[in-house]
């Protein structure tokens, strides 16, 4: 993980204060190879000269827009790019992402948010796939391994069916939060999933039989009446 902080970052923004602020935050977070540029021309020359590993681009620049800058960069480099824009419209966002940007952050932003998203992109692009972790968590007595779709306890290993696996993944992604039955159905059966609520109940019961010690009185996979389900994961156990 530490080597991510070695990555070279290019910041392109026409506002000197913004450049200064972002650079400051990044240095504080431990990044030390930070370059800045104020327009497309200097950004392009910096790209060729410094060979940054990731770029944070503003959309509105004095000599062009970030979208065309991204296209120019793409002609010689496949480095990940984040847009940081004051244009929050859906169209701009979609245009940016459609051009191959890795993320699109709308100003005003919180520094923590920027750093987290930057790290996420860096991890996705530069981390070796091995470190991209198996999702294994404990629920009381059982250990749930989402990658191999297996529930383990002291005595045995129980395999999870594909649907049960999908349900658990969705619940685990939103652990501690209520997930509506609509969202669960959509995660399992896709967009046109109306009418699967009863089937979902059956699957939930089967999941409980595997992960709960007393399936009739669940303590991990809770029903929130009329709304959906909630998975409680106590990490410290």
């Amino acid at each position: 993980m530490e080597n991510l902080k070695d990555k070279k970052i290019l910041i392109v923004d026409d506002e000197p204060e913004i450049r200064l602020m972002i650079e400051r935050f990044l240095r504080k977070e431990g990044f030390f190879r930070v370059f800045t540029a104020e327009d497309c021309a200097s950004a392009l020359s910096s790209c060729r000269r410094d060979k940054p590993d990731i770029a944070i681009l503003d959309v509105m620049l004095p000599d062009g827009d970030g979208f065309s800058l991204l296209s120019s960069i793409r002609q010689f480099s496949d480095m990940p790019v984040l847009f940081l824009s004051a244009c929050g419209e859906d169209e701009d966002r979609l245009l940016g992402l459609g051009l191959g940007a890795d993320d699109y952050i709308v100003k005003p932003f919180l520094p923590r948010e920027l750093v987290l998203r930057l790290m996420a992109v860096l991890r996705r692009v530069y981390s070796s796939p091995v470190t991209d972790h198996l999702t294994v968590f404990r629920l009381g007595e059982q250990t749930i391994d989402l990658d191999s779709a297996i529930v383990r306890n002291n005595q045995q290993e129980l395999p999870l069916t594909a649907k049960e696996h999908d349900i658990l993944v969705k619940l685990y992604e939103n652990q501690g939060r209520i997930v509506t039955s609509d969202a669960l159905c959509q995660a399992v059966w896709g967009d046109d999933s109306y009418g699967y609520e009863n089937t979902l109940m059956v699957h939930i019961r089967r999941v409980r039989e595997k992960i709960e010690s007393d399936p009739s009185n669940p303590i991990h996979l809770l029903t929130v009446r009329g709304l959906g389900y909630k998975l409680l994961v106590k990490e410290n156990q």
């Binding site: 244009c87 005003p108 932003f109 919180l110 520094p111 923590r112 509506t180 109306y194 009418g195 709304l227």
Partner: protein, 467 residues
């Protein structure tokens, strides 16, 4: 097109009725005007009959009555009585050039035509033949001869006459009508296009040229106004978008440094607390700016809609779950009453989610003491509208504010009231409903307590637009 056929049908019917009426009227005129003076009263036949009846033998002399004499005088006529041998037995003012004796051939000749150019009329008398002569050139005598076949088939022929007349009238009216319609059709199309606010450019030649010119002028004015209105709306919306854009960069700095100070453990607690206040206010400003932008885009119909089939019940559930997940206090009680869940409307999921969220947020924010909130969805009885109701039993809104609460804040009509929010929430909901061809109805019944917000959406827009 249907309208044009209707016009043509009426035109033809009217023409036929008019021509029939004209035919009947002509017959009446023929009888009353043309043939009125075909002969004067009394008719020659009448006169001769009267003369014949009044000529009587009295003491070897024929005499006639005073009245008959007067009648003959009035008609400037003369009279005579011929016996069986053709000799004049009696006469009255017999002209000198008229012979006093006739043979059978003479009688046969004048009985049909003229006697020495005098139009004469005859009547049988018991002693012979009474002849009454009128002055020369006073009457024309014509002979009418008909085949009896002809007379028998006369009614049929008259019927044919009538039918032919009707046919000609029909043909003429269709031809004229079609030509007229051909002239009118572009005008009709033009007026229809005007109603749809489309640009119209008609050919100004032909009999309806001035009308076409007026329609063109009307269209041009309409288009100009639409363009001007659109330009102005665009300018306004762009202005707000520009301002919100320019606010974002300085706001980034405010948020960035304040949150950095808040997290800085080297600073005293007091300063970090104050930095937190600055950050929270900055975030408030951020949501205000983006809401303002969204409302202005909706107001000027510049917000693009990403339409798909959306089930409002799903969104309602999602909104409630989001509130619970984000730590809604226990003093709020949210109940869902969802029916007709399978029914979807054609809408923008993000915007509709935002609308429902705003309504619930509104109930939560204005009732900090806690309240019960009920979300209800149902299809109305005639299956044309889908309803979503957000109802609370909280403080409600005073009646006098209710009608203006969906107007934009800062506008002349809406007085600034003391409120926790920025006042864009309900106007945004109303505009989102409007963008979906639906509406927002707010009611606050003082008896029942609380506020009721009803969102109504037409079912499946795409049926109408034919997408």
């Amino acid at each position: 097109m249907e309208g044009i056929v209707r016009i043509l049908r009426r035109f033809v019917a009217t023409t036929i009725i008019v021509s029939l009426f004209l035919l009947i009227f002509n017959f009446i005129l023929l009888g009353s005007l043309v043939f009125k003076e075909i002969n004067q009263k009394p008719s020659p036949e009448g006169v001769v009959k009267e003369v014949a009846e009044s000529v009587v033998m009295e003491e070897d002399n024929y005499i006639i009555g005073e009245q008959v004499v007067k009648l003959l005088q009035d008609n400037q006529a003369w009279a005579m009585l011929l016996d069986d041998n053709g000799h004049v037995q009696w006469d009255y003012h017999l002209p000198i050039d008229v012979p006093r004796s006739y043979n059978m051939i003479d009688v046969a000749k004048f009985s049909r035509y003229y006697l020495m150019d005098y139009p004469v009329y005859i009547w049988v008398h018991k002693d012979g033949l009474v002849v009454v002569g009128y002055p020369k050139d006073s009457y024309g005598k014509y002979q009418l001869n008909f085949l009896s076949d002809w007379v028998r088939t006369l009614p049929l022929r008259l019927l044919w006459l009538l039918l032919l007349n009707v046919t000609v009238a029909l043909l003429v009216s269709i031809v004229i009508g079609t030509r007229l319609i051909r002239g009118i059709r572009p005008l009709v199309a033009g007026v229809h296009s005007l109603a749809k606010n489309e640009a119209v450019q008609l050919n100004t030649k032909g009999i309806f040229g001035d009308l076409a010119q007026s329609i063109n002028a009307g269209s041009a004015i309409l288009q100009d106004k639409t363009t001007a209105l659109k330009t102005r709306d665009e300018a306004r919306s762009n202005w707000i978008a520009g301002i919100s854009h320019d606010i974002r960069t300085p706001l980034s700095m405010v948020l960035g440094y304040s949150s950095e100070m808040e997290d800085n453990s080297d600073l005293p607690k007091e300063q970090r607390y104050q930095a937190g206040i600055i950050r929270r206010q900055g975030e408030k400003l951020r949501s205000l700016v983006s809401d303002l932008n969204l409302v202005s885009m909706l107001e000027y119909e510049m917000q693009p809609l990403h339409l798909k089939c959306v089930r409002l019940s799903v969104l309602a559930r999602q909104v409630v779950v989001d509130f619970f997940n984000n730590g809604l206090g226990n003093h709020y009680d949210i109940e869902l009453v969802l029916t007709d869940e399978a029914v979807g409307i054609n809408g923008d999921e993000k915007l509709l989610l935002r609308a429902i969220n705003n309504l619930v947020q509104n109930s939560v924010r204005h009732n900090p003491q806690g309240c019960k909130i009920i979300l209800e969805t149902f299809l109305d009885k005639d299956r044309a509208q889908y309803h979503l109701i957000v109802r609370d039993n909280g403080r409600g809104i005073p009646q006098e504010q209710l009608s203006r609460i969906t107007e934009l804040p800062y506008s002349l009509n809406r007085r600034r009231s003391i409120q926790q929010g920025h006042g864009l929430g309900l106007p945004m909901v109303a505009r989102i409903a409007h963008a979906h061809h639906g509406r927002l109805n707010l009611s606050s019944d003082p008896d029942k307590k609380g506020l009721e917000a009803v969102l109504e959406f037409p079912l499946q827009l795409k049926n109408k637009t034919g997408e």
